[in-house]
Symmetry: C2
Amino acid sequence: MDQRQRLAVNLKAEMQAMERLHFSSNPDLERFSRGGFVVPASASWVYPDVIFPSPQVFQQEGEKKIRALVTHHHDLLWNSPLRALFGNDRRHFEKMVAITADFHVEACGGPRNYTARRGEPHLNIRHLPFTITEADREQWLDLYVGALKQSGFSLESAERYWRWIESLSLRMINRRSRVAPPKRIPFLQIQDLLREEP
Amino acid sequence: MDQRQRLAVNLKAEMQAMERLHFSSNPDLERFSRGGFVVPASASWVYPDVIFPSPQVFQQEGEKKIRALVTHHHDLLWNSPLRALFGNDRRHFEKMVAITADFHVEACGGPRNYTARRGEPHLNIRHLPFTITEADREQWLDLYVGALKQSGFSLESAERYWRWIESLSLRMINRRSRVAPPKRIPFLQIQDLLREEP
């Protein structure tokens, strides 16, 4: 009989996170151990706005730099543990990278080659077959910091770009492995990293 | 390089579900293909109330019948594709079934053996390591219909019990594989199945 892949989850830490998140702000909440018999409704998974980059990113940086950024990011992904998400077929991977680059170019205000070929992106649906956790998203974004650093993007373009990918990437998480909501990583937090000497 | 398990998702059907759910009710929503640049915030994962069964279930049915119900349900699980979630160690499985039975007895108004031994249930956290999809929950509930049918529970107790497990089970889903919210399965929908001759 097959077994399903299991995630290593620190249950004790998650229980403590639950206490902090849930019970510390609702001290009157009924607890099961005290005979509470309702667990109230809650929205556990809220997607914030996704703000696409303004067309100025395309105007200022141009298609070539945007494509190079996407390609570089995917080279980093291919050499990271996240490669497990992509399978082993390098040729298939490269095709997918080209399509992704089309999407990024269009999202930044460039020609609409992505939608002409593929239709609406609905990226959360396209990612449904691939199991993506909160930690996977963070690693994906981490690698984007490295790629942005070498992209030649102005700090202004990098900020517009980051605001988009940081919010969009939340919607790719389809496997929750933590009690806490996925982390937000504001541009301010990575700005200094981008400025450092390589 | 390892590959991750992938889910078989019907992307076309999910795209159509997205159209129905999202765009048909928001005809003015900006579409990416028309240069829309905001995807508005949304709560994609809402947990409704969990209503625990009233203590009358324990009073009317008693510990023995509740334990037998849980054990029977788990026998059905062990012989179903959901066994992949439990691993192959039958002795470990049986221990877990006994703990689960403690929990169900307590939830139905019986002695508090579960919380005395294990503390607060926080079942969503305890299930985090195990990947559970919407379809897994439906299959788990389906097997409960069969188990309830042979439980000897009155229709009234079965309703109270079902209302609990149907709502609680929503919180075990940690792997979303569909655009649509998880299905609600009201007692009315299974009532006739419980009444049928075995």
